[in-house]
């Protein structure tokens, strides 16, 4: 008869699973912060350009914003990877996965650049 082969999940798969949960937890807190901040801005401080740029220049806003971008981007990248692996077959799969990484980095760098511009504008 056949001998049972040792079968462990690949370390990459386990890591993917954990990181998805970790970023999910972090995202929950950071997004609740963002929703509360938008609520505060809309009802108390105001949503005009001057108020918003002033708000975005504070370190205590820049920090969670940067963490938010990083964590949500990593989270959606992991999630979309699973989507692509499920639905794309053949050579298209590799192409989509490469595209996913380019897309993720583009969004992250675009957002981070803007956040830093806002953070440093106060010094100008």
């Amino acid at each position: 008869m056949f001998k049972a082969l040792p079968a462990d999940a690949s370390p990459e798969a386990t890591e993917h699973w954990w990181h998805q949960r970790l970023t999910a937890g972090v995202n929950l807190f950071l997004l609740l912060w963002l929703v509360a901040s938008i609520g505060f801005l809309s009802t108390q401080a105001g949503m005009d350009n001057k108020t918003l740029t002033g708000w975005a220049a504070q370190t205590m806003v820049v920090l969670p914003l940067l963490l938010l971008i990083g964590s949500t981007a990593y989270h959606f990248r992991l999630g979309l990877q699973v989507l692509i692996e499920d639905y794309a077959k053949g050579p298209a799969r590799a192409a989509w996965l490469v595209l996913l990484n380019f897309f993720t980095f583009t969004v992250v760098i675009w957002a981070v650049l803007s956040i830093l511009k806002l953070a440093l504008a106060a010094a100008a």
Partner: protein, 141 residues
Amino acid sequence: MAETPNKARPLSPHIGIWKWGPAMTVSIVHRATGTGLTIGMVLFAWWLSALASGPAGYALFVDLFTYQSGKLNIVGWVVGVGLTLTLFQHMASGVRHLFMDIGDNFELKSNKRTAWLTFAYAIVATTAFWAVILFLEKPHV
């Protein structure tokens, strides 16, 4: 691995034969909202870059979603409510997911109940959020 699909192979029926249940629905909605939120991330990055580009650039961005008076136009409403609904739905089904990851919530009754609760949460949270924004909004100058 990435095998080339043989389109001529016979397939058994899969999606159309199963009765839709709450757990099934919540699962595919979780996937769909996740994808929708990724598009939301692009919008978020766009908003940040518009804000960073100065008052003129920001005014152009805001103009897409609002009337001159500052009130949201139809695009603003659809995107705004759509995004918040998507966010709260994904958030709720995500938290439900975390409970199932530790082995909890597999009993049929609570599994179905919590699935329905995610939809209820999404609607309630979205309504509450927009009610606050609309009724307590600081008047525009």
